[in-house]
Symmetry: C2
């Protein structure tokens, strides 16, 4: 996606540890025109997969998932990182390791809000190690729901998540892919 | 807002501790048609306040803020509950006590993404004790930005947040207000 590629090239930064900084337009301050175009692009890519539910994980995925969900006319379910008092029912739970925060945590969804008949489109801002996506896939498996697509804004080619998901046969589309050369310089494939 | 009021009346639950459960349509599974209407209503209420930035806090506020931001054509900035490696710059920080989780945490925003010229519309899903909103107001104060409005989906009349903000003179609109009678029964004002 050309617009996202240009944004990453002009405003993104690659840190030494492999973290891509796009907090000025994607996952802290959100450029709402860009996010809306991202939502439209996900609709173009996954309309034919006929999702019945958009699934993401808090926090950065939620806004992107909502803007996409508007085009699909389908609900968003966001997995929570910790069940608070406002999740009252029984939950499906999966363990996830965070690359950017260096911690492991559980993600949960209320069993009432995802079911065996669902065709689930997973949407997230980043794909790096693939841990968060694997956790979301595991929640779908527990519910008996089918993962009909995985839409990612930015995939990091120098981490194994994308390769693993493609080899497993998932219908994965990344709107931008970030490469890193031997000097630690970033380039972006649209 | 009639649509939200009806949703709370038919699907919401009030727990003994005063927690209002709306996780089936607002803050876990999100009814995207409803959230879009909520965004439109916030635009109707706050268009004349001419916000330059929509501010919320992760996680439940983000989707609602994004759907509203589309109508305003303005960016969303969401405060993070903990600065990860993907927030690289200096931050403004405020302390917040969570009513639903029973914990205290810091919220932060990168100093580069809010400035003294901003007119900020704060949007959130709930107003109860008012701690999260007070934290967001504090972040605006540190940045020298002006809070031009506060838009809340559900205010709980039996907790003091709404009263405090109105007495302080803020331009506060709650789309639904939940009352609790002496038997612990909930009723909703549209």
């Amino acid at each position: 996606m050309e617009l996202l590629k240009r944004k990453i090239e002009t405003e993104g930064k690659l840190l030494d540890g492999g973290v891509v900084i796009v907090s000025g337009f994607l996952n802290h301050r959100m450029d709402i025109g860009l996010i809306d175009e991202i939502g439209r692009e996900f609709y173009r890519l996954f309309e034919s997969a006929k999702p019945t539910l958009i699934l993401t994980v808090e926090a950065s995925g939620i806004g992107i998932a909502c803007m996409a969900a508007r085009y699909f006319g389908k609900d968003v379910l966001f997995a929570k990182k910790k069940a608070g008092k406002n999740v009252a029912g029984e939950v499906y739970s999966a363990s996830v390791k965070s690359f950017t925060k260096g911690t492991t945590f559980n993600i949960v969804v209320d069993k009432n809000y995802i079911s065996a008949g669902d065709r689930v489109l997973i949407i997230d801002d980043f794909l790096a190690e693939g841990e968060a996506t694997a956790g979301l896939i595991d929640l779908c498996r527990q519910a008996g729901a089918e993962v009909c697509g995985i839409g990612i804004c930015i995939e990091k080619s120098f981490q194994p998540g994308g390769g693993k998901l493609r080899r497993a046969g998932y219908n994965l589309h990344s709107l931008a892919i970030v490469d890193r050369d031997e000097n630690g310089q970033m380039s972006v494939r649209g």
